[in-house]
Amino acid sequence: MSEERPGHGPGGERGREPWRERFDDLEGAYVLGALDESERREFEGYLAAHPELQAEVDELGSVTDLLALAPQEYAPSPELRRNLLGSIGDASDAPSQRRARSRARIFGPGGLAAAAIAVLALVGLFLWNASLRGEVEDLRGTLETRETHELQGSGPAEDVRGEVVELGDGRAVLVAENLPSTSEGEVYETWLMHDDVPEPAGLFQPLDGGDAATPIEGSIDEADAVAVTLEPSGGSPAPTSDILLTTTL
């Protein structure tokens, strides 16, 4: 490093530049937060001089973030929830009341049906007649504030795009595009995962174009994840095939 700009020191153009070797040397420790202060500043100096490397650093950083998911799972005590909500001044408000109030503010009296219409319209799965469009437009803005969970596809469903959209009060809708068509005698089955134990949450068939929108049966409030498998017609009490779509809640 010289002339005030990292990465342009003497000899830097021959072969692998010394600054780049130093950058590589520090990169892993940087994204792990394991550099001391002076090295961190040094690394960020290289990064400031070579912003094209930011994406590489971000990508390695996203790998680091995965380590947060690796520990064995434990549940915190119920007291922690009470203490936490109490400390923000709403400890006495029951969850069901809070959710009901939240839903009423978001969706009004239309409930699940109206919300589902908005979901379907948002993902462009169906064309709606003009009388519905106004309602959809009204709901569009509020629906965009709902929490969504992107579905990850694998195997034959690798190219599927989809989301689980929370509607409040434990209700949710699964929407997906580009689903592989089912063979005769097969159906997609949705599962709610509770501590790695699947519970059936509904069956569905995609439309001809591979689009689907289906309410999730059961409450997602206590579920850890949503998954989708391919099952024999009529569904199965427990999954019999690999998971095609999944998302963590």
Partner: protein
Amino acid sequence: MSLVGDSDAGAFAGLYDRHSRASYSLAYRMMGERQAAEDLVQEAFLEVWRAAGSYRAERGSVRTWILSIVRNRGIDQLRTMASRRRVHDRVEATASVAQPSEAFAETWRNSQREQVREALRVLPPEQLKVLELAYYSGYTHAEIADLLDLPLGTVKGRMRLGLQKVREHFASSGREVPG
């Protein structure tokens, strides 16, 4: 998240219900005891409550954001502790990371958590150990070199190679790194 940013306590409760388990699991892994882990989770969620308005979806998922707060606050606490645990204890603890799925393994193996564990299982133990000491215990690379009696360059190399190997594992299996 926008509702939490607007100080909607109900939305915050929902956010807590969805992410408290993962947050507590990470906190417990870092702090090693229940009370300290719960204190850390409470502190982290209070920061989530205060800072929800600053969350930007384009920078990553809500879960990643919350877990990064848990981790950063945990590291701050570990680094300011007057006495750290003996490294022997910490290194021993690293063996617990790669847990096999206990139930429903065959069909649930594609879950994100299992994907991550699977990716970590491909790492040589010496690389995994270095990553864990840095990530969960907050040691700098120089401290790890001292604790494990390794050259500094070796520690840095293991950090980078370990992370690259996890990334390559996802790439080779045709998956994206879960966000």
